[in-house]
């Protein structure tokens, strides 16, 4: 059975986007994945073995909860898709530069705030030139 691994879980799979597992049901699926990719089970399921609330598990094109959830028996050829209920990538265009820059501004702002106390209100601004550059990127 083929399982597609979303980016946030690929830290457990060494970057692999898909995996082959054999499992009868959801509980076995978590175990089978854990034996291949230690640590992944905790990210997918609760201590009692039920799926984590914020992960949606699809079998082919159907949410497994419509198929009986933990009671569903996988069939030959099923393809499993794991999708966080709310996906969020950190990817932004030329991420490194922008994030470092934004963070620097933010950190600088906090420093200024601490230094000046309540009378602060002189927010450290990113130089307009750079802000403009970011905007047009």
């Amino acid at each position: 059975m083929k399982i597609r691994i979303p980016p946030p879980l690929r830290k457990f799979t060494g970057g692999a986007e898909t995996a082959e597992v054999s499992a009868e049901n959801l509980k076995e699926l978590f175990e089978a994945l854990e034996s291949q990719f230690p640590g992944i089970k905790q990210a997918l399921s609760n201590p009692d073995g039920t799926p984590q609330r914020f992960i949606n598990i699809y079998v082919n094109d159907e949410d497994i909860r419509f198929l009986g959830g933990a009671g569903y028996t996988f069939r030959e050829g099923d393809e499993i898709l794991l999708i966080p209920a709310i996906a969020g990538g950190r990817d932004v265009p030329t991420a490194s530069v922008r994030l470092l820059y934004n963070r620097a501004c933010l950190t600088f702002d906090f420093t200024v705030r601490q230094a000046h106390g309540p009378e602060r209100n002189r927010r450290a601004q990113c130089p307009e030139r750079l802000v403009e550059g970011r905007r047009q990127a």
Partner: protein
């Protein structure tokens, strides 16, 4: 001007810097924007707002932009309308309508969230934005993306109302119609957000986007003379709006901008897509997803991302969840139009009909102040009522024809 400190996981409490990140990397739970309330309290008196323009940006210290807003500058501060005739029809003492059906620029509350999301998209450097949408969000993203110079990809269920399709395409957006319901559209968007460096407003920008919904709550409080209503009835699709209005009321109390007060939150859905109200009625926030089948397409989310928190908000406030049939939704639309002269879309019909049902059931106290959130415009879902409202055949331009047809029966001729 930003007082945003960081994003914080709603479940495990782990914090993240303000990046385009919507879910916790450890437990997948949504991330919540956290502000320096002490600094706002010390530096921004409520009176500072009085001289600001009447838009959602008058509450900018409680929104997550780092710099000056540039998108949706005219959005928000929609009318809070007293609704005495509706109140009389429902047997209630005092009802107000928060009328986001006239929001700028696309006539729904989604203009608020998009204004914030595009501001963040700009700060993060995205040149392309998008969304998965049941319609109103599609319109809002397409319009504001056009005004802001962004490219946009809008993903919608293939069966969307024609008004909302045209109301997206006209702005030059790329509209991607997807076979399947919203939940499948959203799944596709999640995969796209993981692969492409785009600002998908309700996916990787969701932590910021959803903050825009708070402004509806801020405005209600300010328009009531800086006090909180005893009850609010709010339609629920993904469940975000109701949780964010609750957050807004909490923030206003934290800042001392309103007297502490308890507001009961009532969540409204269509029976044909009622995963959140069903959970609320069961008294358990765990959501069982549904396959939507309702004319209230803007609320047709069977697997609501914030459903769990919406139920907690409702139950924790002493409110309730209730749902209504398609026929009741149409009645709700017509009742609001007939009593208050406001033509809302199906979601607004849901809200009005649920309020009526809750009052009849004794769950909503008719002697208290209640605000109904009217979140969208009836001109976008004409089909929901057009069959019932077919115009009569034309008459000849003759007085006799007119009197015979329209006055004779009433005995007035």
């Amino acid at each position: 001007m930003s007082y945003l400190i960081h994003l914080k996981c709603r479940e495990c409490g782990r914090t993240y810097p303000a990046e385009p990140l919507a879910a916790c990397e450890e437990c997948w739970a949504p991330l919540e924007a956290v502000y320096g309330y002490d600094s706002i309290w010390a530096e921004v008196p409520r009176s500072a707002l009085a001289s600001r323009p009447k838009t959602m940006w008058r509450y900018r210290e409680l929104l997550p932009l780092e710099g000056e807003p540039r998108d949706g500058l005219a959005t928000g501060f929609t009318p809070l309308v007293p609704a005495p005739r509706l109140a009389e029809a429902l047997g209630a003492r005092e009802i107000y309508l928060k009328n986001d059906s006239v929001n700028h620029p696309t006539l729904s509350f989604k203009d608020r969230v998009v204004a914030v999301a595009l501001g963040k998209a700009r700060e993060f450097g995205f040149d392309t934005v998008g969304c998965s949408s049941t319609g109103n969000l599609a319109n809002a993203v397409a319009a504001q993306a056009a005004a802001g110079g962004f490219k946009s990809f809008i993903f919608v269920p293939a069966d969307l109302e024609p008004e909302k399709i045209v109301g997206t395409l006209v702005y030059g957006a790329t509209l991607v119609r997807v076979e399947g319901n919203y939940d499948l559209v959203n799944r596709l968007c999640s995969e796209i957000a993981q692969k492409h460096s785009w600002g998908i407003v309700n996916v990787n920008l969701r932590s910021y986007y959803s903050e825009g919904s708070k402004t509806l709550g801020f405005e209600v409080a300010e328009q009531l003379g800086w006090r909180l209503p005893q009850n609010v009835v709010i339609p629920m699709a993904g469940g975000s709006l109701i949780t964010k209005v609750a957050k807004a009321f909490g923030e206003l109390q934290k800042l001392g901008w309103v007297e502490p007060a308890k507001t009961r939150f009532f969540g409204a859905q269509a029976t044909g897509c009622s995963p959140i109200t069903t959970a609320a009625k069961n008294g358990n926030p765990e959501i069982t997803p549904q396959k939507p089948a309702t004319i209230a397409k803007s609320l047709a989310i069977g697997n609501p991302a914030d459903g769990y928190y919406a139920v907690k908000t409702i139950l924790g406030s002493g409110g309730a969840g209730e749902d209504v049939s398609d026929a009741e939704i149409v009645e709700g639309i017509r009742l609001l139009a007939n009593t208050e002269g406001i033509f809302t879309e199906t979601a607004g019909g849901v809200t009005v009909a649920v309020a009526r049902k809750l009052i009849r059931q004794g769950l909503l106290n008719p002697d208290e102040t209640t605000v109904l959130a009217i979140t969208g415009n009836g001109l976008k879902t004409i089909g929901a009522v057009s069959q019932e409202l077919a115009a009569e055949a034309a008459i000849r331009p003759m007085l006799a024809d007119f009197e015979e047809r329209y006055l004779a029966a009433a005995g007035a001729a």
